[in-house]
Symmetry: C2
């Protein structure tokens, strides 16, 4: 049944029916109830474009990238998931690239003023992140990928970074490792703070002292990880295990291990965080890579759902999901070498 | 100097000045000339938003993806370059994901009707590609990434795929290889057709017969390449060299070589096409990978420029760039093994 059919059945104009269904104030209460009842009884479901026309929505979700480099492998996997789900609702993604934090704030103001998007995705949060405040003040609906500290309720989806790293660290401790290096993300970013908490909790539970020389905070590239790992492997005593923050980080660490003449999975162990890139498969590495695994594409798909819920009227404070992370053991992690 | 200042100086309204500068017909010729002269003399340059307001432009460029998988590593690098350049003009990218070819055509109609974008990027072309016809009929400006056959003039940027593969194949022939496998893209796609031409030309120039068993047409993933390479390595005589269509393909071929107990760069050679992914660096591989190299991110940046030129009034038939491709020799390619 189309809007046209419902309108004919009721003897009303399509505009009136559409306004009634979408709660516009110019439709009186009696008509609204009559339309709602008929729609329910006849099984009328508005299609995406009709709904958009009636509600004045733009049919796009916004994503602001700070610097073109933010569109890296993580973001493109996320967007793949997001776009795939939004496509079924004929909703587009409006990507705005800006050069600085201040430009990002300006971009949100511009997006809110132009009504080019119905909602935005707030990503890469810091624990204290005023962007969420700005979006709330602009009344621009948003779903946060990650978490922030703050009193006001926001819709969010995050993975359990603390639990993932705590579990991986504990497993390496079980295998006898005591010098475990954590290759963490940039300081201040929520996920990096959460991973640090998990790491410290696991060490502390076994009474293993924290050595700051074994923790790095950096971007996740092969090149940076290679240099940091080279330096760490020259420490005496050197680390016997590595926690790599991403698969790209794992590649760089692996290269440093190989260059030092060590064997991964025997002399040195590694567990990497795997966001599940189709082209960097942990099972296809040599040796195969032990991972903490959570698909960032699946997170994108789910965030599309959450945006639809938010736009459908579900309160932001009722939208939050914390996803558990799997620990998948393969060949790269083994018992600590005997000293 | 702002539009406001120029208008005050001339004693005209901002609207009139803006229309005069943008060639609207309702401004008479005398005024247009007076405004143009003053603007030139006083050094007035319209800013992006003023221009947009005056011209009724949307300030966005459209990109339609057929299936969420199209947003893979190649597209995300391309978008990085594109977005970085468009950001300086405050132009956004509107990403529409669709599920089929017919949906893609519909999406272009929708984009043209809604005036949500000023231009689109047509990508992943086939040699005979009716999408370009549709866009021309819709009068939706576009720049093509790649090339198509056809009579009507289109703006395009492409890399010299034919030359790249011809050169890589000739180099392997120089090294004594006679069984050279080409891992090519999906049949019908322009770049794959061009690569095949280059491959066949190089073989033919040396009188080496073409063996269809040594050419594959497939998507570029590690997994698919692994299986195809496994099968090819069982041929007797087996190939002694591989041309990998992408770095992901190279990973899969490399895995098959290693699993067959062969040494890359000694028993078997490989040259891979490298679109320059920051996280899959040919120099960081082990052994380092010989490549034909062309940055797809740089192509994205340049296509942003070409779109600006097109929107600035440059005719589509004057916009075409064919980029040469470098051959970078590293450790993975060496002399053919003696039989």
């Amino acid at each position: 049944m189309r809007l046209k059919d419902l309108a004919e059945h009721l003897g009303l104009s399509q505009t009136t029916v559409s306004r009634a269904l979408n709660g516009y104030p110019e439709v009186n209460e009696a008509t609204r109830l009559r339309v709602a009842e008929a729609a329910a009884r006849l099984g009328y479901r508005p299609n995406a474009s009709a709904l958009r026309l009636a509600t004045g929505r733009s049919g796009a979700v916004g994503l602001v990238l700070r610097g073109a480099d933010e569109l890296g492998p993580h973001m493109s996997e996320f967007l793949s998931g997001l776009g795939g789900r939004l496509a079924t609702e004929e909703i587009d993604i409006l990507v705005t690239t800006v050069e600085s934090y201040q430009d990002e704030i300006s971009a949100y103001r511009r997006l809110a003023a132009s009504q080019k998007v119905d909602a935005v995705i707030l990503h890469s949060p810091k624990l204290h992140d005023e962007r969420a405040e700005v979006l709330m003040d602009l009344k621009l609906p948003f779903v946060l990928h990650g978490r922030i500290n703050g009193d006001r309720p926001v819709a969010w989806l995050d993975i359990d970074n603390t639990g993932a790293v705590e579990r991986a660290t504990s497993h390496l401790l079980d295998l006898g490792h005591r010098r475990i290096a954590l290759f963490n993300g940039v300081k201040g970013r929520t996920f990096a703070e959460h991973r640090e908490i998990g790491y410290l909790a696991a060490l502390s539970a076994r009474g293993v002292p924290f050595d700051p020389a074994l923790m790095s905070n950096s971007i996740f590239t092969d090149e940076v990880a290679f240099r940091l790992a080279q330096a760490m492997l020259e420490l005496k005593p050197r680390p016997t295990a590595f926690l790599a923050g991403s698969m790209m980080t794992a590649l760089g660490i692996f290269r440093a291990i190989r260059q030092a003449g060590l064997a991964l999975g025997k002399d040195v162990s590694m567990i990497a965080h795997d966001d599940v890139f189709p082209y960097l498969n942990a099972d296809n590495m040599y040796p195969t890579m032990s991972t903490t695994r959570s698909s960032i594409r699946a997170a994108g798909t789910r965030i599309a759902e959450l945006i639809l819920q938010l736009l459908g009227g579900k309160p932001a404070e009722d939208i939050h999901e914390l996803w558990p992370v799997e620990l998948v053991l393969r060949e790269s992690s083994g018992p600590a070498p005997t000293p």
